[in-house]
């Protein structure tokens, strides 16, 4: 089903994508750590046209009290898009999509955080999308992971995330908005790269089982590229070798 306004091809005849990238090449990424004053930890990511802020508060006293868990901290996550982040103004506040993304993003971190060190407390992760061009949940997770480290929250590993997909029948890394809209498949993946543990995986569209395996392999490779950039960003902020 061709959609209105679809470009004729998403991959040119020399095997490059509309923005000139190779199929397995992520968009340019810029990461900065510790950019907000009040938050306990914060980070900012630009990935292609995506511009996303992440902040962490906690561990802190959790209200309302009935949410407190006697043996562990409650990890909460709020993924939010600003009204001006997308072409048409978005109505402020949560919708079904952002509620689901908040849930799976939180679940991507629950495995990593040593929440049991902080019974009854709360750890809050906020992801604010300022400008969106596909892959915002993954970029948001990549940034939030740095915000958690910046807040001094103990973790098993960083969490790195990137989407893979299929455009013009080919498996590619890190879809742009156009590729997501007119491509066949989108599969966001988050993982703890040093442990090879996948903590978020969603997929919609069309993959054969061979394509799925190829895509998963590419997503893991992509997460590891992001991981190196996360390390660099932390070292830039805190110095050291």
């Amino acid at each position: 089903m061709a959609k209105v306004g679809a470009p004729e091809k998403l991959i040119t005849k020399d095997g490059l994508r509309l923005d000139g990238r190779r199929l397995d090449e992520p968009r340019p990424v810029k990461l900065e750590v510790g950019i907000l004053k009040r938050a306990d930890g914060s980070a900012y990511i630009e990935q292609g046209r995506n511009k996303i802020l992440a902040a962490v508060y906690g561990p802190r006293e959790l209200h309302p009290r009935h949410l407190q868990k006697p043996d562990t901290a409650l990890v909460r996550c709020r993924y939010n898009m600003s009204p001006f982040s997308v072409p048409e103004r978005r109505r402020p506040g949560p919708d079904r999509r952002t509620i689901e993304i908040s849930k799976v993003a939180r679940e991507a971190f629950e495995q990593a955080i040593f929440a049991e060190h902080y019974p009854r407390a709360g750890i809050d992760i906020f992801i604010e999308v300022l400008e969106a061009d596909a892959g915002t949940r993954c970029a948001g997770i990549t940034a939030a992971s740095l915000a958690l480290a910046d807040a001094g929250i103990p973790m098993k590993d960083l969490v790195s995330a990137i989407a893979v997909g299929k455009i013009d029948g080919q498996v590619v890394l890190d879809l742009t908005g156009i590729e997501d809209n007119y491509g066949q498949t989108d599969m966001p993946v988050a993982m703890m790269p040093r442990r090879n543990e996948i903590t978020l995986l969603q997929m919609d569209g069309h993959f054969t089982s061979e394509e799925f395996e190829q895509a998963l392999e590419l997503a893991i490779k992509g997460c590891k590229i992001l991981y190196e950039k996360q390390r660099e960003a932390l070292k830039t902020k805190y110095g050291g070798p």
Partner: protein, 233 residues
């Protein structure tokens, strides 16, 4: 048995620090005989093979015997509720304040500690759910009168104190202020005049800012002596 990173080098959560017969301490976690960093910070391999990571950031987590500066936020029946700058409020029971039996018909507990008062207190108990109990019944504990309070990152407090108290002694000597640096990131300062208090605060904030640099003691000394010359003459 091997240590994979240099002592004092920067590690990131998940980094493998060492393998073999080591003791995993603060800021690390252990899987089989491997020790990994759990927080962002600097590796410190201690004399008895204890490995810890000195964090760059993080909230204050109380430990038994910590001396903390708390702020009274409430009085519930015969227990004061104290904000100790942790993820948990702490309890200060009247039995840990007064020597006699408490009869509420006879005494008004707010006469002892009122909401808003600053207390220097000691952590005496922490249970599994992190319910924290304090006492002020020992020499040196109790209400703080006057003075100024500075909040800094709790992980920077050891730097304010310095090796065997050298840094804080330097500031005390140069500013003639009374200074209490408590492990929960609160520093209380009381001096002869506000200029000297300001100078002490300036030094403390500079240490917090530059905590992970070397040669800090000399720079602080220089700064204190220079400023003192200018401000106080």
């Amino acid at each position: 048995m091997a240590v994979f990173v240099e002592n004092r080098s920067l590690v990131i959560p998940g980094d493998l620090i060492a393998e073999g017969n080591f003791k995993a301490s603060d800021g690390t976690f252990q899987e089989q005989d491997r020790i990994y960093a759990s927080v962002l910070g600097l590796v410190d391999v201690g004399p008895n093979k204890t490995i810890r990571v000195i964090p760059f950031a993080g909230k204050y987590m109380p430990k038994i015997n910590d001396v903390v500066i708390g702020k009274v936020v409430d009085l519930r029946f015969i227990t004061w509720i104290i904000d100790i700058n942790a993820p948990y409020l702490a309890d200060l029971h009247a039995n840990e304040v007064l020597d006699r039996k408490v009869d509420l018909t006879e005494i008004d507990l707010l006469r002892f500690y009122d909401v808003g008062d600053l207390l220097i207190s000691k952590v005496i108990d922490i249970d599994e759910e992190k319910n924290i109990r304090l006492t002020t019944k020992a020499p040196g504990l109790g209400k703080l009168h006057g003075g100024r309070l500075v909040k800094i990152s709790p992980v920077k407090v050891p730097r304010i104190i310095g090796r065997s108290g050298s840094m804080i002694k330097l500031i005390k000597d140069e500013t003639k202020c009374e200074i209490l640096a408590s492990s929960n990131g609160r520093v209380w300062i009381k001096g002869k005049d506000s200029n000297l208090e300001n100078l002490a605060i300036q030094a403390i904030l500079k240490i917090e800012q530059e905590a992970h640099t070397t040669g800090l003691t000399d720079r602080i000394k220089e700064m204190l002596q220079k400023e003192r010359g200018e401000k106080i003459g």
